[in-house]
Symmetry: D2
Subunit: 343 residues, 4 copies
């Protein structure tokens, strides 16, 4: 069947590939319908590697997917052919100590789509463990289903923030993940969320959500704004979603006494933190690695209409145009949040 | 100055009363502008007592208030005359063990407006400790300010539920407090909230909020609905807001494994609980007594536009008509949520 | 191989039975060495059923076990023959929603030793999933290994109590599980734990632990004692481990404002709770159903020497004498905590 | 009355000073009996300042104190002359937003003994707010009472670690505060606590507690030891108590997936953290600034005999010898934990 294959750094092709894996009693076979392009997909294309993960063999790209169930294994309950589903791209060893604790995202043996040498989901059909496929409600499109994956990171961050209703939030960085964090924190109980960046187009998109307050830090001091609006108290929740080293020594300034910080951005090298400043407010700093048990939450939030992800789909390409889609994503246009491929 | 005085059970009068208390260095004097009528106010009027609290002397009614600062004490910072504020009606001993822990609502020495023998706030001016007065943002009216008190109970319940973003909520009982719980749980992170009652008018009001799903249990089985909509899993958060004894043995049926129950309704006598059923899901049951540290959260949520309380103000009376207002409230019309008095 | 079989209510036999289950790639085969007798084992013997679980076919008894690894499956890592282990008696479906959340004890499909129609472990050898077998450190005997199961319930209760270091605890009921709760709460951070019962022999055993304060309620009012010792504040943690209906309306009296209650005892019928009293202190009530992810904690606590379970083994019988052991357990002598069988 | 006065950097004198403050209705007057010497006291003596806090006027030293009540204010309940008490050295503004939340340690207006320009407690008598004085049980000496202050930091750290019973702990740094953290974590629910340092004398003292496992990192690799003892899983709780910059990039290596880090040590300058490494385990990092609501917990733990602080009092001096006591503390002998002054 047809797949989008990264042959090697800088070279993609749409070509025939066998279906990956084999149907077992606990599997479902799914016709892939929508795949969103993630920054990591583009990075493998442009750089051929992310850290230790190097593309040494041709690899099918894509890990943000939704589709339609074609076949179900003998033990599978709760699904039938024709069901519309989205799929979690990382499959842990369910018997590991981390998985038993409910922290399956932290299982070191997780097998994750489009992380070398594991193939991704930009292929006509995939075989998937049924427990990592999630039915979509009628109120939700397949394109929205493919948005669950990037949203899940935002919701994981919002969950880790242990938001109390009415909290004030701050998100630093308005990239795709920063926006996902902002809307998740808002849906997750914040009364309002400030988001700071220097790209006005991103801020305009983020600011289109009621309750998200964009701050262009080239024009306005975000710290002054947040402290001014809170009588100097600070924000209850600060989500670092930029990964920019310059942000780290100062993010504590945004937090209120007893506030919470969530570290989502991933700086490459160690970054400096001012421990004494963090301690003076007894800030609690949580960190995020993907997500676990978040898909049902994301589907609840999108399906109920509380959280709109449709406006974040900047452009949709057909599968045949998927190389063009990647080239579009590669340009990193400031007004693009998510490029979607439709199979 | 003029006050609405409950002379004794069944007898109210608008008459002159002295301002209560004395200005100290930490006080503010506030011109009262809006007071909502609470069920407890009506109950003192109709029954002359609530439990151990009996009206033995004439007592000014009212405890849900907003107003305008007239004068500030010598030590008071952060306020100036003309500021619009709402006021927390219960003043604890700040030196008590409970207060030091941040649980000032649980201080047994709390002095609470319109709880005999303490006078309430249906009087032209009140003197109040500055730390229990809260400035209203420009986006918020004084009438909305007076709604903060009943909303605060809902937010306290939502806080106690430790909502995780995307939770499914169920509220049992659509009285004023039940509605406050439902909209607080929704604003506080639930993806949707079912609310069950037998009064269609109340359900219609609750259901006017996007994400609140009303269930008239005289027409539809709420348990079947909730379990059906969640693939049999159940709700993450169940808020008991009816106080109806018949509800208690069965509320666990609504909860999901590891779910949370919040007990807000107050049954008069002990009620039966099925412990084994609760244990089979390891439900966690929190309970609510008024609120602490919730006013800033309520103001954030109303002020940011996330949570609309205006539609819950069913009718507004002038101070001169306040006895008529009480008689209206006493009728308990099913389509009335809150009767407001404007001074 | 030899097994202790409950033929039907009131009739036990030691006789040949085949090994249960089959070795798979993720299994270990274990030579059973120690099995503790639980009240539920005795109850199946004396009554032939517990609630809906009726003994209709001959069933091997026993679920509190430790042994020595004999054989390991192809995929199993971290074990080798000769390893001393204890085994978790309940095996969930690892793919269930509850298991994915880390709440595998709440999976309705759990298969549990010696719960009809599932055979137990009083047999020479068992085949077990490797991920539910736990290595014992050198500092720990196999008899202590068999004590992990009943202790795990106490630790689950202590975990649910979210103990803060220095908390004061109260346990109501000094049966085996009550004692397990008391020593777990103590090891888990309580400064001291009061335990109330009417059986002096049980209280003497509980009171032999430094920090456990026994109260014989036929001689002393436990509430007066706890409130007296805490300046009227109450206990931070109250663990109900009696299941006695008379306890429920009043347990809230022991708790401090903002305190926590853990429901461990299992009353057969619904019991009355005074909701208003619970609310006045905003008590949080958690509940316990077996345990999940507790075995490594129990092994840590016993293995480090912090928590002594040896003194709770009242008498040890050989496997040949196991029917006598059951008859001993059946007598419910007040100074007996745990009867152990050694294979 | 006599006081130990730091006249200026390097110059101390025992001389007459007036009692500080005035008796009010909520005060108690206390005869000071025991004062422990803290590193900060010594630092003011040797350096004349700590950060922004400079000794510009003569200042009475000391903030770790216990004594006997001499006089009580008109409103004070629960105390009478002759009561033995210890005193919390920091007095917040009880009306601040932080105090209302129960986070009174984070109130920026805290007035703290022996922090310029505020006088300390090395004086014959002090006047203190009653709500920050705590009665000692009969089982506890006044010298132990003076140990409550440094222990409180350890308990605050253990509380912030949200220890689950049976956790494995690691403390980095075996100074006075490191030892306090280790014994607090142990008493607070850890099954065992590793403590790493290069000073063998400190490690010997720490290791004298059952369950504290000292590691001299000049002789043994602590990371290898901790991972080896936990089958490579890591520690549930890591407490950084050294403040040594070199520790920060690597402390995450000690933590288990989902583990908790508590930042207690205070490095002067920003220190590098490896965020990606922290995220890979989703570590949660809490931070500590003094303590709030911990004194009753510390008293419970010492008073019940669960936590022994007596062995940490290395030497006791009379008040007349207090300058010699400071010179002893200044030498920082490796086998000295706490120097105590007895008045």
């Amino acid at each position: 069947m047809k797949a989008l294959v990264l042959e090697k750094q800088g070279v993609m092709a749409i070509r025939d590939m066998p279906i990956q894996g084999e149907m077992g009693p606990d599997s479902v076979r799914i016709k892939v319908k929508n795949v969103g392009i993630c920054g990591s997909d583009v990075h493998y294309y442009t750089h051929g590697r992310i850290g230790q993960y190097a593309v040494k063999e041709p690899m099918i790209l894509g890990h943000e997917a939704a589709g339609v169930v074609e076949e179900i294994g003998a033990n599978v309950k709760g699904f039938r052919p024709g069901d519309r589903v989205c799929m979690e791209p990382g499959i842990p060893n369910g018997k590991s100590r981390a998985s038993k604790l409910g922290l399956y995202n932290l299982d070191p043996d997780v097998v994750f789509w489009a992380t070398p040498p594991v193939h991704g989901c930009l292929i006509e059909e995939v075989i998937h463990p049924a427990e990592y496929a999630y039915k979509l409600p009628e109120t939700m499109s397949l394109a929205e289903g493919a948005m669950v994956e990037p949203l899940a990171i935002g919701i994981q961050a919002a969950k880790k923030a242990r938001i109390v209703p009415g909290d004030v939030g701050v998100v630093i960085g308005a990239g795709t993940i920063g926006i996902m964090c902002a809307i998740s924190a808002l849906a997750g109980g914040c009364s309002k969320v400030y988001i700071a960046d220097n790209k006005q187009e991103k801020l305009d998109i983020a600011g289109s959500y009621d309750g998200v307050i964009p701050i262009n830090f080239t024009k306005e001091d975000p710290l002054k704004k947040v402290l001014g609006d809170t009588d100097g108290w600070g924000a209850d929740v600060v989500i670092e979603a930029s990964g920019a080293p310059a942000v780290y020594p100062g993010f504590a300034d945004y937090g209120c006494p007893g506030g919470k910080v969530v570290l989502v951005g991933i700086p490459i090298d160690p970054v400096p933190l001012d421990i004494a400043k963090i301690q003076a407010k007894e800030l609690d700093m949580a960190s995020v690695f993907r997500y676990a048990n978040i898909y049902p939450r994301a589907i609840n939030l999108i399906g109920s209409g509380k959280l709109d992800v449709k406006r974040l789909i900047s452009k949709t390409y057909s599968f045949e145009q998927s190389i063009a889609a990647f080239k579009h994503a590669e340009r990193m246009e400031p007004d693009v949040v998510k490029i979607m491929i439709e199979l």
